[in-house]
Amino acid sequence: MSVLGIIAGAGRVMSEEIITDSNGHVVTHSWIWPETAEIIYGSTASALVFYALYRFGWPAMKKSLDARTERIQKELDAAAADTAAAATEAAGIRQAKGDIESERARILADAKAQADSLLVDGRARLVDEVADLETRAVADIIAARGRVGDELRGEIARLSSAAVDHVVTGTLDDATQQELIENFIARVGASS
């Protein structure tokens, strides 16, 4: 509605006459429609109210809606971030689980390798020790045999020495003594 329209309407309202009943009560011209002036005043007041609402209430409401939207967006973002973090953590856990599995496998493999190495080393050492023991045993046997042989020879020599003295002394009678002396004299006399 233009300002001219409003003014024209206001002129017409001003020019309407008020109808009253017999009791002096004001009677409207329609049982449903208000009076024209009321429409104008009401419309104007409504427009002013709507304008005031648009001018002053809407920004605040819009700001509130924007803030709510932003809060909701933030919450959505946080939820998305939490979801992503959870997914990352889940992936980490899955990776860690995988790492644990691989670590376990690696430790088991290392342990098995060490056990195999120890077994091989132990067998080799055992073989060496057995060979060494055999060598020493053979050497000990040879030494013992030599020692026993030496002791036996020594004992035989000792007994023989004792026997020689006894036997020779016992067999040296006067005739033998004289023969030895004569042989000595003959031998010395023959040498020059």
């Binding site: 035989i156 020599a157 023989s160 020495s161 020689v164 003295d165 020779v168 002394t169 040296l172 006067d174 033998t176 003594q177 004289q178 030895l180 002396i181 004569e182 042989n183 000595f184 004299i185 003959a186 031998r187 010395v188 006399g189 040498s191 020059s192």
Partner: protein
């Protein structure tokens, strides 16, 4: 005075006394045999060299031992050496005396060790054999030494002619 000089002095004194007495050969022989007995008998050596025993006692032992078995000159000479405390040097003194006596007669001492005594004939033939073998005139000194067991060992100067059973047994033992 060193021991060598002292031994030399005693041997010369004994030699001169025996020669002055005109019994050099007999005394020399008796002294030689006594020296060998002295060497082979530990108890005799101990008795005549023990300084804890008085000199008179040691001399009495000598006189008891040799009385009637050796000439008085021999007994007195040994008694004199023992009484002067030189009993330990007695063998060396006597050996010097024997060497001196042999040298005076242009003889080399030939010490012969035998297990059994030699007869005069054997001694004569042995002397001749040693003269033949060494080319030296020898003064034979026979020592009866049972440790020889059998045979003889003759020592003339630095030459040793060993025909003893003892040595053969020792060689056999060494081989054993």
């Amino acid at each position: 005075m060193s021991d060598d000089n002292r031994i030399e002095g005693y041997s010369r004194a004994l030699f001169e006394i025996a020669r002055a007495e005109g019994t050099l050969d007999e005394v020399e022989d008796e002294l030689f045999r006594f020296a060998r007995s002295f060497e082979s008998s530990d108890s005799l050596r101990t008795a005549l060299t023990d300084e804890q025993i008085p000199a008179g006692k040691r001399q009495a032992i000598v006189e008891d031992l040799l009385g009637g078995k050796a000439s008085s000159t021999t007994t007195q000479l040994i008694s004199m050496v023992v009484g002067s405390g030189r009993g330990r040097d007695l063998p060396a003194i006597i050996d010097k005396l024997v060497a001196r006596a042999s040298s005076a007669k242009n003889l080399e001492v030939a010490e012969v060790r035998t297990a059994v005594p030699l007869s005069s004939d054997q001694q004569d033939r042995l002397t001749a054999a040693l003269i033949n073998a060494t080319g030296k005139q020898v003064n034979l000194k026979v020592v009866v030494d049972p440790s020889v067991i059998g045979g003889l060992v003759a020592t003339v100067g630095d030459t040793v002619i060993d025909g003893s059973v003892r040595t053969r047994i020792d060689q056999l033992k060494s081989r054993l």
